[in-house]
Amino acid sequence: MAKKQLVRVKVNGRDRQAEVEPRLLLIHFIREVLQLTGSHIGCDTSHCGACTVLLNGKPVKSCTMFAVQADEGEIITVEGLMQAGQLHPLQQGFKEEHGLQCGFCTPGMLMSCYALLKNNVKPSEEDIRWGISGNLCRCTGYQNIVRAVQFAANKMAEADKKPEMAEVAK
């Protein structure tokens, strides 16, 4: 068995570390070592995106990375979306627009949408559909997810116009 290695990461703003086998997948590190079970596993071929988290600002499929590859990095999972007890506009949007049913794809979907909105504050429907094309959903048919993202985009645009409102996580 390969010698364990130390992995140090910042997860949702907190410093975490653990000794892990080099072959430990990042998703297992997140779910089982860090016990953040929000991110899910939906396939074994990197297609479904249920494991999507942000690593150093970019969305990654954490099932296709080793934990050791994330060493010294900064990870944001769905558990880190809320700020100061407030739902992120995306989370609000998913609730308002019925963007989820069984909820299994939702964490990964939220993280992809989060990354999408960071790069594109006013995405068109086509932009949104392309942006979430790496996340599979069996329940919603994506239509309400698109609405949820549009809801969030509008909400965030309004918030930007009012600087005195609490700043939403960038």
Partner: protein, 784 residues
């Protein structure tokens, strides 16, 4: 007409935002794989690479020696406890772990238990199995050949024939066909596909040796039925088994059967007295759990020259895989397939189905099929279009001429079903108006002149759900009632528990809305729980769109019983007779003196603090509902496609879905269900198939090959509704979850065939992948 309550009460008809969302959007759902118990270990199955082979030896020595491995269980080990085989939901039996031989690729052969997932995976690689390959049978049409290999040596009859089932009058139907001037027929294959919910199947089996109690957290759509099965199969006293179905990441029928993984995990936990977690991978899910469809169907219609359909004749070959593990009511080996007369008024019909074994994974009933209604609806809507082509008649007009008129309901079909209510013309009219049918036909004619391919497909389906009345329906002998138990607390809040189990359908919200409607208690004040067999009343679970028709009805009835008791308490508090009281949601008031009233909250408080003399304290009720009939949702879907003749790609330009599921609890949730089901129908029509090569290798055993639509392929769905309540349901509702998957494949296929019908194409089998369509275009000389 359902009275609409205020937004605060939020009863039926409100698009109430879902209560369950809060935990899911924060990543705080509690799915089976999220469960972590002290001392928990992990199990992994070792699976057969061969579709048909004798097992010569299973060597587990090296696996057992690996540090961290606690046990390796083989079929031989289970056989000693009489557990190598288990009953299926179709009164067949299925191997838990193979003994003697294997019958499909990926069949379960051994179970490894280790301290962590990775060690279990390492150990499973060290299990050595020696096989002797046997000839493989993958073509169901060859299953009954005299020289076909006999797959099931455990059965008395040494052939691959499982059952023959027929319904209707063969002779009378034949007579009509003899005399009919017009006949049309189609041979339609509904390919094997798989529901593939995003969460795979799994469990945590936790046997507590100190208490003797076995708790099984599992991905189960029917926790009580599963508990009873475990009790009967495992010989464990049923009061010592607790099945907890927590949050489930999609079911679609995939989580109804009992899989070997569950049994192995339970056996391992009983043996080791520690919690054992088993979670299958996606590949295992696609290759070994309950598939859907695989029906080879032929339909013939006999009609007169005006297009009046007289008779329908259907013959089907059902490929069930290696074991008959289809989950359907006992008396119906082909499920509710005899709904194949659809929305049309036939004077005679005859339907026969033969089921056969092949070297493929077991299953058959899944993927939002309503017990084979997807197959039936697809078949009838396809053959009706073929008839329209034969008669050179507009397909909408042909349907209109043959719809069961709304005046004829309740309608008894010649294959034995009594449809509760329907108004097919209204649904079709709404759909055609909404899509602009006449304009589209004009556009199509113009495009045809220019060699552009555009098609319009209609599907006017009738569904049959809500199984079902005790006189006809049972699964493994257990009648298909369902239940609800409601308890009102002193402060007027409530808890309600049902025998169903949501896997995303929003029950925590919709059931609360039913209680709110009946009692005027705000839906937000009603906690809904399902899935824990220790607390929820017995039920048969959620599948086949049965929750609203059965448990929904039980909820209303239980609530009404509470209201009856509440009335007595109100009369006591208001010092009047019950006859003087009127009800409006949330309160009883004296007729003519509305200020003399008691709210349901005041009544609830009184039930614990100030009861009428002689009355039992408390305010609760339970109902076990035996539905008097099934319900029959229906609708018309219209699909418009444009075909790229350079690539064979089909672009869905528009899709209008008009559904009628009677009275609706939560329109937002119904719409969401339709979106999801239509997307599954799209996948089935264009991109999904689990196929096997001649050696029995699975093709489509991972998401590389078994395709799920992404947001890019999925078109924008336009939904609308008509409302024809069910006359026998307590609040006129019918259920709707599966309608979109039932009705849409025919709409898609009809549209594509319609686009090339003028070239002489009568039918194209699913999945209509671009390469397949392009070859047809090339053959017809119109490929770019």
């Amino acid at each position: 007409m359902i009275l609409k309550t205020s937004p605060e009460v939020c009863g039926m008809g409100h698009s109430m935002k879902r209560k369950e969302d809060l935990r899911f959007i924060q990543g705080k759902g509690n799915y089976v794989d999220d469960i972590h118990l002290p001392g928990m270990v992990y199990g992994q199955l070792v699976r057969s690479p061969y579709a048909h082979a004798r097992i010569k030896s299973v060597n587990t020595e090296n696996a057992k020696k690996l540090p961290g491995v606690l046990a390796v269980i083989t079929g031989e080990d289970l056989a000693k406890a009489n557990l190598a085989w288990m009953p299926t939901l179709s009164y067949d039996k299925q191997m838990v772990l193979a003994t003697g031989k294997v019958l499909f690729q990926s069949q379960e052969v051994a179970f490894v238990v280790a301290e962590d997932r990775y060690t279990a995976a390492d150990a499973s690689e060290l299990v050595e199995v020696e096989y002797e390959e046997l000839p493989v049978l993958v073509d169901p049409k060859k299953a009954m050949d005299p020289d076909a290999p006999v797959l099931r040596e455990d059965r008395e009859q040494k052939n691959n024939h499982i059952f023959h089932w027929e319904v209707g009058d063969r002779k009378a139907t034949e007579d009509v066909f003899q005399k009919a001037p017009v006949k049309a027929s189609v041979h339609a294959f509904f390919p094997r596909c798989h529901p593939a919910p995003l969460e795979t199947c799994g469990c945590v089996a936790d046997f507590n040796a100190a208490t003797g109690k076995l708790t099984v957290y599992m991905t189960s759509q029917a926790p009580h039925a599963h508990r009873t099965v475990f009790a009967l199969v495992g010989g464990i006293p049923e009061q010592n088994i607790r099945v907890i179905s927590p949050d489930i990441g999609g079911g679609f029928g995939n989580k109804v059967p009992v899989y070997p993984g569950y049994v192995c995990a339970i056996v391992a936990s009983l043996t080791l007295s520690v919690p054992v977690k088993w979670i299958e991978t996606r590949s295992e899910n696609l290759q070994s759990t309950g598939f859907a469809r695989d029906y080879h169907m032929t339909a013939e219609i006999a009609a007169d020259r005006d297009g009046k359909m007289q008779a329908l004749r259907v013959k089907t070959l059902a490929d069930h895989g290696a074991f008959n593990a289809a989950a359907q009511p006992t008396k119906f080996p082909a499920g509710l397939f005899s709904i194949c007369t659809g929305s049309y008024d036939y004077s005679q019909a005859f339907c026969e189905v033969d089921g056969v074994y092949t070297n493929k994974a077991p299953g058959g009933i899944a993927y939002r099929c309503s017990f084979r209604v997807t197959e039936a609806a697809y078949l009838i809507e396809r053959v009706v279009d073929v008839l329209a082509l034969e008669l050179k008649m507009d397909p909408a007009e042909l349907r209109r001429r043959n719809f069961i008129p709304s005046s004829k309901f309740p309608y008894k079909s010649c294959l034995g079903w009594t449809y509760d209510s329907g108004n097919y013309e209204a649904a079709m009219k709404l759909a055609l108006d909404k899509i602009g049918y006449a304009e589209l036909r004009k556009e199509q004619a113009e495009k045809r002149e220019k060699g552009e391919l555009m098609g319009i497909g209609i599907s006017s389906f009738t569904e049959i759900v809500g199984a079902g009345p005790a006189h006809t329906f049972d699964i493994l002998g257990i009648k298909m009632f369902d239940s609800c138990e409601i308890r009102i607390h002193p402060t007027g809040k409530a808890i309600a528990r049902m025998g169903t189990k949501s896997q995303g359908q929003g029950h925590e919200t919709t059931y609360a809305q039913i209680v709110a409607q009946e009692l005027g208690i705000p839906a937000n004040d009603v906690t809904v729980e399902e899935g824990d067999t220790d607390t929820a009343p017995y039920g048969l679970g959620t599948y086949a769109s049965r929750s609203t028709p059965t448990s929904g009805a039980a909820t209303a009835i239980a609530a009404r019983r509470i209201r009856e008791k509440a009335k007595k308490i109100a009369a006591f508090l208001l010092e009047c007779s019950e006859n003087d009281l009127e009800w409006e949601p949330g309160k009883f008031y004296v007729k003519g003196a509305p200020s003399k009233a008691k709210t349901i909250q005041e009544i609830a408080f009184a039930a614990y603090t100030n009861m009428p003399p002689g009355m039992e304290p408390g305010l609760e009720a339970v109902d076990y509902y035996d539905p008097p009939n099934l319900t029959f949702p229906f609708g018309t879907y219209v699909c418009v496609v444009d075909i790229d003749n350079g690539t064979g790609e089909v672009k869905v330009r528009r899709f209008v879905a008009v559904d009628d599921c009677g009275n609706i609890i939560n329109p937002m949730i119904v719409e969401g269900q339709i979106h999801g089901g239509l997307t599954e129908g799209l996948a089935i029509a264009f991109m999904q198939q689990i196929d096997y090569d001649e050696s029995g290798n699975v093709q489509g055993g991972s998401f590389q090959d078994y395709l799920l639509p992404t947001a890019v392929e999925t078109p924008h769905w336009e939904t609308d509704k008509t409302c024809t309540p069910s006359p026998h349901h307590p609040f006129g509702a019918k259920g709707v979850g599966e309608s979109p998957n039932v009705g849409s494949p025919a709409a898609f296929v009809n549209a594509v065939v319609d686009a090339v019908a003028h070239l002489g194409v009568k039918h194209i089998d699913m999945p209509i992948a671009p390469w397949k369509l392009w070859q047809i275009l090339k053959e017809k000389g119109v490929a770019a």
